[in-house]
Symmetry: C2
């Protein structure tokens, strides 16, 4: 296989884009990424998207986005794995370049959730769960994570308030990200007083669904130096799955797919958790941030919230997470989120993260689908 590097990144603001359609957002992000790479064309396009078919009656996004982005005629395909669609698209682009069959690859994650009312969007999002055994009974993604958080609190004897540092950290970091949906810090008091979404999940535990697009340009590492002044190497790419339905898992409080995909990534890169200097994790809900940290070896079982309370997850901590706001404050543009994570990690490694810049040349991103059934882990190096 060939080594792969990122030579271009682009993103739109995450949020409510009433004036832009899905294709516009995708084109904006791709144009920015190609401009950043100084390129005008590519061999292949991978589009990560979850909800377009259900919310806007538009499938076939590979051809659509290639067409509108001015990449007429190129190989193009859509990749889907619920909330992990974005990172899965990066993974497929990585395989394309690694294979030697594709030289310049564009990966775009895009989602437009505001074309439907919130109830419809939430129902569509819940198609990430098992339709016959979970969502059929009316359970939503939020409700499923409510059950998970309640169980976590019971098993590990922690309180709702113990999850607050995840939300506070994300919102604090979002302030300095011009592309974040929410750019205001919150207080511990606000966290506690926030309305309930799915008890014990409150308003500030849950990331907001939103619109947005992000894109990266990949190429073989031995060509990257000639294209970009600051190429970022993809040191590892790992994907794993778990039983789809939460009730089928051996231990619902251990994210087996997150663990397995991180293990694959660590082994490919020849590194361990202590080598990772920042971690863009999947904080769709605060409980998922805790579980991801535990699955990836940054905290012991049941100690994820303690790690956060100790300040280890802040920009100055041992393992900064959600450095540009995470899903919580930047916004969770479902199928685009995994690409946003890679773009933000690349910004950090290029030293272009502004006021939120952290040090260290090795970072990790993890994108999770549904209640944990798909996990995609990438390790990048400056």
């Amino acid at each position: 296989m060939r080594e792969v590097s990122i030579v271009g990144i682009g993103q739109t603001k995450a949020g409510e884009h009433w004036e832009r359609s899905m294709r516009d957002l995708a084109v904006d992000a791709i144009s920015a990424a190609l401009k950043d790479a100084g390129l005008e064309s590519a061999d292949a396009l991978y589009v990560g998207n979850m909800l377009s078919g259900e919310l806007t009656a538009q499938q076939h996004l590979g051809a659509l986005v290639a067409d509108w982005a001015g990449l007429e005629g190129i190989e193009a395909v859509r990749v889907e794995g619920a909330d992990a669609s974005g990172a899965l698209a990066v993974r497929q682009g990585y395989l394309g370049v690694a294979s030697g069959l594709q030289d310049i690859v564009v990966v775009c994650g895009v989602e437009k959730t505001t074309d439907a009312d919130a109830e419809t969007a939430l129902a569509a999002w819940s198609s990430a769960l098992d339709a016959e055994y979970e969502s059929f009974h009316g359970v939503t993604v939020s409700a499923m994570h409510g059950l998970l958080m309640r169980r976590y609190m019971h098993e590990f004897e922690v309180s709702r308030e113990d999850f607050a540092p995840f939300a506070l950290n994300a919102h604090k970091n979002g302030v300095n990200n011009p592309n974040a949906m929410f750019r205001s810090a919150i207080t511990a008091e606000a966290f506690v007083k926030g309305g309930m979404l799915a008890d014990p999940i409150g308003m500030f535990d849950a990331a907001p669904l939103c619109d947005g697009a992000a894109a990266v340009v990949l190429c073989p590492s031995d060509r990257a130096g000639r294209i970009a002044s600051k190429p970022v190497r993809v040191r590892a790419s790992g994907v794993a799955t778990d039983r789809l339905a939460l009730h089928s898992r051996r231990d619902p409080l251990f994210l087996q797919a997150a663990y397995a995909s991180a293990l694959k990534a660590y082994q490919q890169a020849g590194v361990g958790p202590s080598d990772i200097k920042l971690f863009e994790l999947h904080d769709s809900f605060t409980v998922m941030a805790a579980l991801s940290l535990e699955a990836c070896g940054f905290a012991e079982r049941g100690k994820g919230t303690r790690l956060a309370q100790e300040g280890a997850i802040t920009l100055q901590g041992r393992i900064p997470i959600s450095t540009m706001g995470g899903l919580k404050a930047r916004g969770h543009a479902v199928g685009a989120t995994g690409v946003y994570q890679i773009v933000e990690l690349a910004l950090q490694l290029r030293g272009e993260a502004g006021a939120n810049q952290v040090s260290g040349s090795l970072g990790m991103a993890q994108n999770i689908g549904g209640s944990g059934a798909t996990a995609v882990t990438h390790i990048l190096e400056a």
Copy 2:
């Protein structure tokens, strides 16, 4: 890159599976393919599917199918490109093995259209078109192909009846395929008298939407001989796109993506149309069969129907097509169709096509999405 071979194939009957859910169909096809290969596990799973989100509120099929097929924990992803989803999944599996990062890959195409009423299914299928500029105005996939066929008849001065040989050939070949949805031959008279679907498209011009699943197992060619007694080499894999909306194309009567993907495949394999001994093409509508033959160099522009009338497309002809019934008689299980084509082509090249066996060791399959915006071409060799 590594060379790739097919070491296992499996399929369910195409048709109406009232007693089986989508996951059951996928498991049946995958189990058969793994059994055929003598394997019990794999490194990765690619699932081709178009309509599950819209028709059964189930996305996230990578994790779902891996879970139910007993492939717990493996890398898994869904791939979508409208009707071309199946062959795009084969393409991604091919890249995975070619990259050197995946050794044993399972590709499954699956679709369950009968869980919704026909009107809902047809509307969902039309999300293959441009939602903002085509289907928004009420046009369906069938109507779009009606416009295309009418234009073809006008430009090339052929009649509705001139398309009959495509339908007659497909139905004749379907008789001997135990997995075909329709196993009865039709007459030229029946073709003409069949009711209109979207003038000039009649009942026998259009392939039926149906349920079904097909699967293949891929591995590096240098290992294939140790796994299978009759491995089939993937000599080439090519993907191309075209403008999504029919009205945006320079010439709607030339399938640019089909041409470009076939050209990529010919170049990779170092062969031309005259070397190809059978062609599993995308006869979703008879006009698409004609246009595919023209785009791939088997007939001159506007002469596709004449090629059929001369008998060249029959089992005894120069370039047999739809040898196991094609989309028309085997049935068009949308996102599964591209994998069915590969399975049927492999059956032919392994000499296991029964009464429909054709000679020749080099065959081609082409899967098309929407009204031609995505095309995937594979060349296989015994």
